[in-house]
Amino acid sequence: MTAPPAPPRLLLSGISKRYPSVVANDDVHLDIAPGEIHAVLGENGAGKSTLMKIIYGVTRPDSGEIRWEGKRVHIDSPAAARALGIGMVFQHFSLFETLTVSENVALATGLPSAGLSERIREVSNRYGLPIDPERLVHSLSVGERQRVEIVRCLLQSPRLLIMDEPTSVLTPQAVRQLFATLRQLAAEGCSILYISHKLDEIRELCERATVLRQGRVSGEADPRVESNDSLARLMIGSELPSCPLPPGTPGEVRLKLDAVSAKSEDPFGTALDGVSLEVKGGEIFGIAGISGNGQQELLRVLSGETLSEKAGDVRIAGVEAGRLGPAARRALGLGLGFVPEERLGRGAVPALSLADNALLTGARGAGLTKGPWILRGKVNAFAREIIARFRVKTPDETAAAQSLSGGNLQKFIIGREVLLSPAVMVAAQPTWGVDVGAAALIRGALVDLRAKGAAVLVISEELDELFEICDRIAVLADGRLSPSVPTRDASVELIGRWMSGDFTEVGHVQA
């Protein structure tokens, strides 16, 4: 590897950051040349986000040195970062929903509001990022919100733009548009730091990659000449585990929604518009789509937290369940298993022990109560079984849920629901933010459930994951569900078109 022409736009050396239970960054080195598109690659929990927060002045390192265009700097606030010429597009957007686009821009940049709308239009047209400056942010789609973030950065003529996992909120077509914008920016001399765990994207876009593993730099590479496997080896020390889906024979319909419409409780939420679907026993049905398109609402309808108008709107294991609450749905036949998208606070009670969290949904299915009394011995045994069978890393079942890492807690929650042997299993974003090992175990558990004849519904933003473990895929876009297609007949292009709400020209479709 040859050294980039001196001085680099940004040079990090010896950056370390410790948290109570984890070393997020350990002696990290990173350099970026002017006009370079540089990837920071690593799996969930490898320390990418912490590093970006350090560069943007949100978090301070415990030790290490930062040089900007050759000069030593101390970036102790985002304002300081912006003053240097660093812009950041966050993974979770830093926008205020109740304010307009131009108010948001004015607030963050300190630019005078006079004539701001004009400048926003100008920049957004120049870079192919159309937005209306007068609209309220909560009325924008997730993709549009990302454009607002990018335009907000561009208005300050950045010399380094940090993009944190930007494509998870975009349709495949929008990803291509974004890449074009980023290449245009790089050609104009702006350096780009592109953070992702998606190998294909990095190989397509980036000229150089710094790979992080468990907080340390595990290697540097030119992704254009590497393969997915060689990058994966740098990233996790082995090739990406895959979870082959053995051929299955779907049984009868176990989960059925019949033209369900539902308003959202969230004033900024998306209403469901006539969603119908059928999931058979022994089948995994995947729902793709970008969060915010009705996923929350659909999940509430499935779990019973939102009751449907008619009992027949939702059928679980053959029973009309539309008017039944969550507890009653769990008790139906073999019952409904449910893994919510939000682990701490919904799937588990943060301050309670794992044993108590096993009791949360296991009370009836695992026989953990008798009359009004809790059977402590059984609760503890059930929790221990989950911990052992799903390899949850924890001292014992008395540990508080909040003391577990995201991946371990998710293994516990999945384990709890799986051990109740449900007839129908609904899992939302099952591997979001989870390390590769845990993700493989979780996907394996869902595939095992399918083998046992359960109907499994997976709602996920990760297309790769859906393509790997689903028998059929549909897309939720703006509260409407697309037709479904067998996974072997699905293409990224088709799913992408469905994501944009265009359900026409469906090709190989099964009603």
Partner: protein
């Protein structure tokens, strides 16, 4: 150099220790206050915390005042566990007194053994009925229970004043706004002839065990705890939210109502314009100091009761205003909340080696 950092899990030790730190800090502030008021600190402390307990009568008074505090606090423990903020225990207590006292006044000549149980039951129901208002309004109209329960404290107080000044006024009472004295069958038996504390103190002790069992061992108690700590998890698990609100408010209202009727059927023996020196409010502090647990509430009630009588003694012995009690109560809760920081956070010594680099990096 020290740094505050989040603990991976809340510290069980600190949960128990922080009320003790809070009591200690309150005592120290008290010493400072006595000194600033020109009182000999040792003597003032003696008058406040020791002297009341030197006689059997004093101990009786201590338990007497601890009883309604404990009862109200037990109910609040249940409510606050469920994240239902009933702060109107004072009003529910008054309604318990009105309902129970009403039964006594309705049967002035009754002598049967049924009268007291009927009064106690009426008191519990009175408190429950008053707490049912915020429960109904919250579950039906999404109205905040904090404000509603508090507003009803004032309404209950005015209602009591109206009753004892009007329809229920003792005709032979020289126009004083108070009811007739209750008959003998309507007065609670004493624990000990030299004390004023009644058998309700024992009942409260029994109920303490009951509430502990309820919260620690029953499925319903578990569901309330989950609803309080993580409302979304309760919805996800299918624990009916409305039912939790009802249970929390009815339980706390019932306990406060029992405290109220026990006051009028005990030490007061009649209805007066004021039946409580603020037990219902002080019980909020008791519940917190007791870590929202029943055994904790017992200890908290004993401490808070001592503050009440200590204030009275200090008034007589030192000429200090009795209102000093309220000051101490508020301080105690402040210190407790502050000390609770260390339940979830700890101070970590930043190692000297790392310190210079940190300073450099963050300058």
């Amino acid at each position: 150099m020290f740094k505050l950092e989040a603990r991976p899990a809340p510290s069980a030790l600190m949960r128990v220790a922080s009320p003790l730190f809070a009591a200690l800090a309150m005592a120290l502030t008290g010493a400072l206050l006595f000194w600033a008021l020109g009182q000999p600190v040792g003597k003032a402390f003696y008058a406040f915390f020791v002297q009341p307990l030197t006689t059997a009568y004093g101990v009786g008074e201590w338990l007497l005042k601890a009883t309604p505090l404990l009862l109200c606090a037990l109910g609040l423990v249940i409510a606050y566990r469920a994240n239902v903020w009933n702060i109107g225990a004072e009003g529910q207590l008054v309604m318990g007194a009105i309902a129970g006292g009403g039964v006594a006044l309705a049967f002035p000549d009754a002598s049967g053994p049924w009268l007291l149980p009927a009064m106690l039951a009426a008191g519990v129901l009175g408190g429950m009925a008053w707490a049912a208002v915020p429960a109904f309004l919250r579950t039906r109209f999404h109205t905040n229970e904090i404000l509603v329960s508090l507003m009803l404290v004032y309404v209950a107080g005015l209602l009591l004043r109206y009753l004892v000044g009007g329809p229920w006024r003792d005709p032979d009472g020289f126009n004083f706004p108070q009811s007739r004295m209750f008959g003998e069958a309507a007065v609670l038996p004493l624990l000990h002839p030299e004390m004023r504390v009644t058998v309700v103190a024992l009942l409260a002790l029994l109920l303490t065990g009951g509430v502990w069992l309820f919260l620690a061992r029953t499925w319903l108690g578990f569901r309330l705890t989950v609803a309080g700590q993580a409302p979304a998890a309760a919805l996800y698990a299918g624990f009916g939210q409305k039912r939790n609100v009802w249970i929390a408010l009815l339980a706390s209202g019932g306990f406060a109502g029992l405290a109220g009727v026990a006051e009028v059927a005990g030490p007061l023996g009649q209805l007066q314009p004021s039946v409580s020196p603020g037990y219902g409010f002080a019980a909020i502090i008791v519940a917190f100091v007791g870590r929202l647990s029943a055994p904790g509430a017992l200890l908290g009630a004993l401490l808070m009761s001592l503050l009440f009588i200590g204030g009275e003694t200090a008034q007589m012995e030192l000429g200090l205003p009795a209102a000093i009690t309220g000051l101490f109560q508020g301080l105690l809760l402040f210190y407790l909340l502050a000390a609770d920081l260390f339940v979830n956070y700890r101070l970590r010594r930043v190692s000297p080696a790392a310190t210079p680099a940190l300073k450099e990096a963050t300058r």
